[in-house]
């Protein structure tokens, strides 16, 4: 330190010497700043903040109905080479929980039950899935819900992606068809 003082002090060095211990304050401000977000997220994952955002209620899928909501109002998240994913939640009608075997979600109409899309995980009151969103998806695309019954039946319905996740459509438009 004494050596440092002997050296000709550049403005940068003086700045560092004067403010270095204030780094502590900056570092302590970080968790304080993120605390509201932390508790909001904890509340969301407990399901206390409802199913999600931009909820579409009572989508009629054959004899059943279902609520669909995106987990967060934001663009799809990148997951490395696997591509981009958008988290959705769904809740089945109370009366149909016992008859439904599986619920799937897909962008574009599935050709068969085997390509019905990504399966919803969890209890019928609150299921979740990660929907792959190819960057070349057209902004006017439809999100298809497929319900498979324990009796082997299959029922389908669709909602506009723009309604299910406006942020995803905004992201797609910004991508402009880039891969």
């Amino acid at each position: 330190m004494n050596q440092a003082r002997a050296l000709p002090a550049t403005p940068l060095k003086q700045f560092w010497l004067k403010w270095r211990f204030h780094l502590n304050i900056l570092l302590i401000l970080i968790p304080l700043g993120f605390m509201p977000k932390y508790f909001a997220d904890a509340r969301m994952f407990r399901g206390d903040a409802g199913l999600g955002v931009n909820q579409i209620s009572d989508i009629q899928v054959g004899p059943y109905s279902l609520d669909l909501a995106e987990l967060r109002d934001e663009a799809p998240r990148a997951d490395g080479p696997a591509g981009h994913f958008k988290a959705f939640n769904a809740a089945l009608c109370k009366a149909c929980t016992n008859e439904v075997k599986a619920v799937y979600l897909r962008i574009g109409k599935p050709r068969s039950l085997r390509a019905a899309g990504t399966i919803f995980f969890g209890a019928p009151y609150r299921m979740g899935t990660n929907l792959p969103v190819p960057p070349r998806t057209r902004p006017d695309a439809q999100v298809w819900v497929t319900i498979e019954g324990w009796d082997g039946s299959m029922h389908q319905a669709s909602v506009p992606l723009a309604k299910a996740s406006p942020a995803t459509v905004a992201w797609l438009e910004k991508q402009g068809g880039k891969p």
Binding site: M1, N2, R5, R20, F21, L23, N24, L27, I28, I30, P31, F34, M35, K37, Y38, D41, A42, R43, F45, R46, G47, D48, G50, L51, R77, A78, G80, P81, A91, K94, N98, E99, K101, A102, R114, I119, F120, F121, G122, A123, P124, Y125, R126, G149, W150, D151, G152
Partner: protein, 397 residues
């Protein structure tokens, strides 16, 4: 005064040692302190909240099996859907049941392992999760891969290891310091210095463990964010459509019960004590079971097909590569939760010592700096006068 090169080198080491944590000392202090709390957070909650305790109704009461617990839960709350049951490490803890209620909320319930009674719901402020999040990633959310808070905290492993090494270099014959008494009555600088050195030599092993495992967390994040995996854990495929029976009346296909799944998993993993059981998350999912065997640092798991009773996938100790034995042991070594309460208390104690080392290091530095500054001021006061007398000497005839 010709200094030997050895001496000046050790002075440099000393300077490095004293500067390692300084500009961010408060950050380091809080990370050490929250880490110390996180080790015993489960026990703190146990003390504070009676719901978390596994109270035995009478001496003859026996622990229920997983299926008996599930039956009790389903009877108490028929609309509730149970997602998983887990027995925390230690029989004095209640079973944790992760459930989904009909209103779409997903609380964690504390269930008595003797009666199956729901003792309470996990409070909205989860002390364990909060201290771990604060210590582990400084509450910075994970949005794209690892949070940058995770990097911020795990980077501290590097200066920590460096301060261990430089500390041992500057402390001459440190191996003789284990029973050196702390001198009192010679001023606080001497006291804190003695305490810092004494705590330091006893904590060599602990600082090494915490800093190396901390650096592993950094490496883990770097690997994860670059999508490099060293895991040999199999990806469990979904159950084939043909294996799920179809019912003519439209009711769900029957699955084996949890106790049968535990029995089947026990056959596949000899000597395992199943402590976590996840119920199928879809019609095409397995019952996932996990627990510890003879090696307390690692979990072993099996995925049992609930329709065919076949163990479709398993990950045992023997399935791990040598590298995985090392890397997978890193986390429990850091957190100290691999040998019950005794080990946790050891980790807690040395965590406290480490926190005090940061504090005592700072106190020593402040006192030393205060002295050094005073000395430097004195010198600079003297210097102009000396120069002035030189000048007068020159101009005098």
């Amino acid at each position: 005064m010709a200094k030997s090169p050895k001496k000046s080198k050790s002075k440099l080491w000393f300077l490095v040692h004293s500067w390692l944590a300084l500009p961010i000392w408060f950050f380091v202090l809080i990370v050490c302190f929250t880490g110390m709390l996180a080790v015993v957070s489960q026990e703190i909650v146990w003390l504070a909240n009676p719901d978390v305790r596994a109270s035995q109704p009478d001496d003859s009461a026996e622990r229920l099996s997983f299926q008996q617990v599930l039956d009790a839960l389903n009877q108490a709350e028929p609309d509730m859907s149970v997602r998983s049951l887990s027995q925390p490490d230690g029989s004095h803890f209640a079973i944790k049941a992760r459930v989904t209620l009909a209103d779409g909320t997903t609380p964690t319930l504390y269930v008595n392992p003797y009666t199956g009674a729901i003792q309470g719901k996990m409070p909205d402020f989860n002390f364990e999760a909060f201290t771990r999040a604060l210590h582990g990633w400084w509450l910075v959310p994970f949005t794209n891969g690892y949070s940058w808070g995770w990097y911020l905290v795990s980077l501290l492993g590097l200066p920590m290891l460096a301060s261990l090494v430089t500390g041992l270099v500057v402390y001459k014959k440190f191996w003789k310091g284990f029973f050196k008494p702390v001198r009192t009555g010679h001023g606080s600088r001497i006291f804190w210095g003695d305490l810092h050195r004494l705590a330091g030599v006893w904590s060599i092993w602990f600082i090494a463990v915490i800093s190396i495992t901390g650096i592993w967390f950094l490496i883990q994040a770097i690997l994860g964010d670059n999508h490099i995996t060293i895991s040999s854990e199999p990806v469990v495929p979904v159950i084939a459509r043909e294996q799920v029976p179809q019912s003519t009346d439209g009711s769900p296909a029957p699955r084996i019960d949890l106790d049968e799944a535990v029995r089947i998993a026990g056959l596949a993993i000899p000597g395992v004590d199943i402590s976590l059981i996840s119920l199928p998350a879809t019609a095409y999912s397995h019952i996932d079971l996990g627990g510890r065997g003879w090696y307390p640092l690692m979990f072993q798991s099996a995925a049992v097909n609930p329709y065919t009773r076949v163990v479709d996938s398993q990950f045992l100790l023997g399935d791990r590569s040598a590298l995985e034995f090392v890397t997978e042991s890193m986390r429990p070594l850091h957190t100290g939760d691999f040998g019950g309460l005794a080990i946790k208390l050891v980790w807690f104690f040395f965590g406290l010592v480490l926190t005090l080392m940061v504090l005592s290091g700072l106190l020593i530095w402040t006192k030393r700096t205060a002295q050094a500054t005073a000395a430097a001021l004195k010198r600079s006061e003297r210097a102009p006068r000396a120069r002035a007398s030189d000048i007068t000497a020159e101009i005098q005839p």
